[in-house]
Amino acid sequence: MTGARADAGAPALLVRGLSVGFGSKPGRDPLVDDVSLEVAPGECLAIVGESGSGKSLTARSLLGLAGTGSWLHADELSVGGTSVLGLSENAWRRRRGRDVGLVLQDALVSLDPLRPIGREIGDTLRLHTNLSAAARARRVLELLAEVGLPDGELRAGQRSGELSGGQRQRALIASAIALRPPLLIADEPTTALDVTVQARILDLFEALLHAGTALVLISHDLAVVSRIADRVAVMSGGRIVETGTTRALLDDPRHDETRRMIAAVPAGQPRGARLSAQDRPNRPAPGVVPGAVPAAVPAVADRVVLEASGLVKSFRMPDRSRLFAVNDVSFTLDRGTTLGIVGESGSGKTTLARLLLALESPDAGEVRVLGETWTGITERARRPMRPALGAVYQDALASFDPRLTVGAVLRDAAGSADRSVELLDRVGLGAAVLGRRPLELSGGQRQRVGIARALAKRPQVLICDEPVSALDMTVQAQVLDLLDELQRDLGLSLVFISHDLGVVQHVSDRIVVIENGSVVETGPTEQVFAAPAHPYTRRLLDAVPRLPAP
């Protein structure tokens, strides 16, 4: 298939001594520093690293897309045996899509929202081949079928906004492989997707690998790539710090960064086991007892801190039908324990969180907090009870007033400056961040500030809505460890809402699985994971990215 373009036996990609940076002085302050890679046809190389490690810039440089104002130096950079060093923009344009394809994380912004996806995919064919319009249309349908989008004729006429996240990603992959490029570069291709959808996209990549396509897969999640990668390169600070076959790298990690990434994968780690290295040396480590129950079991009457019974919430749709976002959901949360609520996007998780926080009122059913009525009363009546319930949000940045500094945010919540410092210390941040704005902090720091604010009123229950899904794996590990530590120290009860079954398994004592607004399964975590009763739970479980057993 690639014979005309590539020498037999030539690597699909060969990079030696690649350095990339921005600024007027080439060679100064590189963001990608002396990177060497080699990928054979049909092989999958994964580049993993945290945000800012240089992995995306490396990927973009392979397509001549490093960006304006960038400089690039390499001893060798060749695709399919042909050097692509110093190509003009026009020459690159002819090669992109034909010799090397690109799949990006966010298909919503990568596809033109105003054009049907059939046209988007067909464009690649129109620009690079002499196929007739009818032949192109046929080819588009074939491609859509190949990436697992049935009803091709219908799909080809739809715009990207009418498709689900997984369908959009498939459409994007279809356009990337339209010309059968021998090399495909995928930058975080599944990060925005649900686990079940992610699993199917990875299957699709696997099929492409079998067909002989070489794949460079960029991700921050070692567990995801370990499923299909033959070899892994770990990047940190612009350099490749360790590289090897997936198996060898997982079994015998040499570099600290690699060990950190392996330890950060939550799936299969027992409850209470630390996921991050001891990142706060001045604080004594809490006793690590896998599977330990954090607090002594209190008297039965005092046991239930949060109770939801028969919650229903529906919204009117444009066509006047009603969508039941939450449909007859009941559960109880025991003191000092964590209840995990799992479901995929659109399952009603966020609506449920809003009902628990009384930001919406339920159509039917009720919520009780510490035995007191919580729903169906006025906000004024609820306000004195608000301190009992804290909230941690997915998008920490949006939850802070953009005009306020961290100090002002915490003072607002806690009432005094002294308490703000105490809270920051509690979440492992120094008083130095008090004067900063949340925008100036890293994602992990922001979430720590969010947790500090949630703790300000000394709540008994924390509602955490996707608290770590916007974070890198290693940062996620630190935040999960922090929540665990706080739970032990303060006797908190947690409702932990997430789409990530691996995370939920790690943090929860009990699990509620919801699908389309209804509870499909509930029970103790070990039981649900050991013997899932509902097919949906099984499907979710199978799709969880986890490291292969040693």
Partner: protein
């Protein structure tokens, strides 16, 4: 009327506070960075205007009303850099001395427009349902008239003059500001940080004062700066039509109007006042955009 003034004052205070902070932290650190040539030129011109407005004697020592019939209709020369008018008055002196009046009208009209817009927008956004509906329909009716027509209507009822012209321009610009402020308020009110404050048990009043109003009013500085340029053009237009300041007052619109008769023979009489109107509007817009960009990046 007094409500208007209070609101105008409020908006002004918000704008001042915003500038103060901006100057202290951001502009200080960024000044050495990327400041475009147009921005420097615009800032320079505005500085000149401010000087002319507050101390016209410094930039143009003569008397703007001094008549010298022997020197009538002189083209621009070293003695009269902008030429002279039909009574031999120096056009440069008059343009400089007219700055204060023109800027005053522009700024006052913008403050009135912003203030009124803020009141309407906040009422509509906060009270919701029926009030929101009523205010919105009212705004739509006002939008149906071109702004200048609305101003003319107001002057027809209350009579011409600089004060009514200012009020008229203010009123005519208010619906636009009201729309923007209402939209801003609605988006801030449903934002995640307002919900977070609710979850923390904050009262409605406290959330309104602490979070919603400051975040709604923050963009007013930019809106105001952009609006001043427009207001000056409109005020000059009204004076040109003889509905604002009257000749021989040294006001740009009035000077334009007076020079109209001599457009064929003494084009400088209208060219230079017109140039100042245009440059002022451009400078205000350039600066407004620059502030907007910096606030967005910060």
């Amino acid at each position: 009327m007094s409500d208007l003034e209070i609101q105008a004052g409020l908006a002004g205070a918000a704008a001042r506070r915003q500038t103060g902070r901006g100057l202290g932290t951001r502009f200080g650190t960024r000044f050495g960075g990327r400041v475009g040539l147009t921005e420097v030129l615009a800032a320079g011109f505005v500085l000149f205007l401010l000087l002319a407005a507050f101390a016209p004697g410094l930039v143009a020592p003569g008397d703007p009303l001094a008549i010298d019939p022997r020197a009538a209709f002189q083209p621009p020369s070293s003695a009269h850099s902008f030429g002279t008018d039909e009574s031999g008055r120096d056009v440069y002196t008059r343009v400089s001395h007219g700055t204060g009046g023109s800027l005053q009208i522009g700024v006052a009209a913008t403050l009135i427009g912003l203030g009124l817009g803020a009141v309407l927008g906040i009422i509509a956004g906060m009270l919701g349902s029926i009030v929101d509906f009523t205010v919105n329909r009212l705004l739509e009716v006002m939008f149906a008239f071109p702004g200048l027509l609305l101003a003319l209507l107001f002057i027809m009822v209350f009579g011409p003059g600089p004060a009514t012209a200012t009020l008229a321009v203010g009123l005519a610009t208010a619906p636009g500001y009201a729309r923007i402020i209402r939209a801003q308020l609605v988006s801030v009110r449903s934002s995640a940080f307002v919900e977070a404050a609710t979850v923390l048990g904050r009262s409605r009043t406290r959330i309104l004062v602490r979070h919603i109003l400051p975040n709604t009013l923050a963009p007013l500085l930019v809106l105001g700066t952009l609006g001043i340029g427009q207001a000056i053009i409109w005020a000059a237009a009204l004076s040109y039509l003889g509905l604002g300041a009257k000749p021989p007052a040294a006001e740009w619109g009035a000077m334009l109007s007076a020079g109209r008769t001599y457009l064929n023979t003494a084009v400088w009489m209208s060219f230079f006042p017109g140039l100042f109107v245009v440059l002022t509007a451009i400078s205000a817009t350039v600066l407004g955009r620059a502030i907007e960009r910096r606030l967005r990046h910060a």
